[in-house]
Symmetry: C3
Subunit: 338 residues, 3 copies
């Protein structure tokens, strides 16, 4: 009568990536359809609509058996080595009426629109994050782009389709501190959405305080399901204060998941650009097919292509980035949920 | 029909600590009421009163999802990085008549009185370890203050209230070795106690051999339950050989857990001093309240204050230590056992 | 109804090792009878003879609670620190008719004959690996001697006693690359065997591409069970290209597991030599007894002695290697399967 549930995803893809004549073949163990993980979770009913719960969620490199790093201070990642519960490590008190208070390490509110409204779920060669969190964005300069440590979060209770969350996380610096370093690594953000029937729409905004200049990001996403088509769109912009241009970046994506046979086709078109003098720009087109062998197991393939323009050098998959060169990535993978 | 049981504690506290005008706000994920952990354990009945068993117990920083380091040689801790079974990693053979032989990494016998007879269970802002294992003690110079690797332990069987254990652990040095380094990291210690009805009393003594000078520690603790009051006291002294003063330290604690409503108040007064010329001294007063939401889940708060005198600079919670300055810590936390 | 099974082995031995007057006493937590581990596995029946499955298998140092390192590129091991699924981290699709495709980190085909046909199962003082993967062999210069990351493997289905597997693993280097480094860390190997009634025989061959010179290894093993005797033999040779002698090494082992009472005696004689001018040579004699307390729990002892000749300096167990000196190891341990 253990009060713990194990859960996880193993997803590995044979990936071929190339750019400007260079190429790499890899076995990518973090996943090309869903991100690989091993987790432990539990809940306890405290009565009166109140519950306690926890999640410990460990990222996995299935290709090597290694884990992934976390951050102690939201300023830099710790050096990699063993496994950590880098994805999520949280303890919660929740009330059916009042919502949930959640402490620990968690995804930041500003991450969700990027992944929920990406037909590829920010996994693999076609991930929206290739652009949205790639080298052309200001968001690529913070470790709080996906998750924050030392956080306290609040989630709204169920409210007729409205949902929302806010998070505050700290860098745990000593005060008084050198100018500008007091809040180094602090994150504050929120997300608000509405989901009903075929529609889901949400907006988020957040800021990370950094000694090198605060980075803020805002985004907006929506999906609409019509028969076999789940249409998706997202828009984002981010900015770094107190630095010369390129100090801002913005991008958008349109895409869909199209049911077909035992699976679906994810497809997306996205672009990102910064405010450097020439306005560097990258455009990604991605197409895949996910074939379900069961509810838990699928095989899939993804083809993605990023065109770099006006000096942009977005890359991925381990190939060195080259300005104005086209990157292509091809995934052939297996995903298993347990 | 797995023979493994998962167990654990997640405990996180929002902690404010300050000393001499400096302060830090942190989310402390190792725990303020019980120490955060995730474990795996199992036992096998071998018949005839004999059993085999194991425990793998991993410390957790819930605030970051990171683990905690262990020591390979009982001389220094390994560099941190991923999760390890730093708390306990043991394999046992036990007999109902003869007791238990336990090998691996485990808590040292000399640790138990410090934590069992502390109203705060050596967790959080009010921990007895703030003084008992703090910078003023000689024990703070060994990594075997809490646990030892490479250990063989023996535990007495149930004996009409008497209990006891002995441990020998090795630093695994090559012999012959440079003068004084042969036994570097070896630990030997024992604990003996008696528990019956409202009374529990125990004494322990242990020595760690170190190239820089052997460190020995002895302690004594007792608790007595009278109605809603569980009174506790402990005394300890430790010494480092072959070094100039401060070579010795000693301290004591009196405290209680006082049942109240759905919870209890932990309260303690403790002090420690060394044998430096001025006899540096630190005094801690701590008061808390633990409110049980269920048997497994509680919310709690602790206020603790350490006064440093005659040059002492005991600190905690991430603020830099300042001689003769008063340290204060405040916890507001949640603890969940699973 | 979790779809995950936990499994593992905890095995620790008090080991005394000595060579040329130097000695070390250790608690060896990786195991002296079976290798210590903690794992998670699951399978899903996909219908039509098809199944998906996974294994996450973490090596353990029970003596310290630490884990063991893995390799990211099959060229060097990552620096140790926390736990990793270094033993195995794989995702599979398997068909009863067509066999199994397995991706991730796994044992290399060329490892199996060394361990399956060793009476000591390559664990503890008497391990065949002391010679077969020791300092006299060319195989000791690759990290793919036991396992490879970034691998795709194929396993034959059940075929009237025939069994077999092939593996290809990559170092994930960028192409084009400096001369000789394109395939650095790539491994290719295969194993084919036949098991029926009392007989089991298998051969394996594999090559690791390295910038410093490719290393290939081939081996052959067999076992035959006759009453209480399980006889075992193995032969291996390995070679490193493009280096001066010693560039080759070869060895063999004969041994047996002899059932006796509630346990068995493992016993082996093995030797290895290289092609240095003097043909350095090491000979190991090992004898043990494994006493089963149950199917899952055993106590055991092993005595092993390695004689070094003609300049060989094979050692083990943490004592510095000395040319032409005799090494002895003695284990006294407990093994518990869960």
């Amino acid at each position: 009568q253990s009060s713990v549930t194990l859960f996880g995803v193993l997803d590995t893809t044979v990936q071929h990536a190339s750019q400007a004549g260079a190429s790499v073949n890899r076995l990518l163990g973090t996943g090309g359809n869903q991100i690989s993980r091993l987790g432990f979770r539990g809940t306890e009913d405290l009565g009166g609509g109140l519950a306690a719960g926890f999640v410990l969620d460990m990222g996995l490199n299935v290709d090597t058996g290694a884990g992934l790093p976390t951050s102690e201070n939201n300023q830099v990642n710790a050096p990699v080595a063993g496994t950590t519960f880098n994805r999520r490590s949280t303890l919660s008190l929740s009330s059916r009426q009042l919502g949930e208070v959640r402490v620990g390490r968690d995804f930041v509110p500003t991450y969700w629109n990027i992944t929920v409204f990406d037909p590829f779920g920010t996994a693999g060669a076609g991930s929206a994050a290739n652009l949205a969190q790639g080298s052309l964005t200001r968001l690529s300069t913070v470790v709080t782009g996906l998750r924050a440590s030392n956080s306290v979060g609040y989630f709204l209770p169920a409210m007729h389709g409205f949902y929302g969350q806010a998070m505050y996380a700290v860098g745990e610096n000593v005060s008084p501190a050198a100018a500008g370093t007091r809040n180094d690594g602090n994150y504050a953000g929120a997300r608000l959405g509405y989901a009903a029937g075929p529609l889901n729409v949400a907006a988020a905004y957040g800021t990370t305080s950094l000694a090198s200049g605060d980075v803020s990001t805002g985004n907006l996403g929506a999906s609409f399901t019509a028969g076999a088509f789940k249409l998706m769109a997202q828009f984002y912009r981010d900015a770094k204060e107190q630095v010369a241009a390129p100090s801002r970046s913005r991008g958008w994506l349109v895409g869909a998941q199209i049911e077909w046979g035992q699976g679906y086709f994810p497809v997306s078109y996205s672009q990102v650009q910064d405010n450097s003098p020439g306005e560097r720009k990258a455009v990604q087109i991605a197409l895949g097919y996910v074939h379900n062998l069961s509810k838990r197991t699928a095989v899939y393939t993804t083809y993605s292509r990023i065109q770099n323009r006006k000096g942009a050098a977005v890359s991925g998959g381990g190939v060195p980035s080259v300005a104005n060169a086209t990157w292509t990535g091809l995934d052939l993978g297996i995903r298993h949920i347990f």
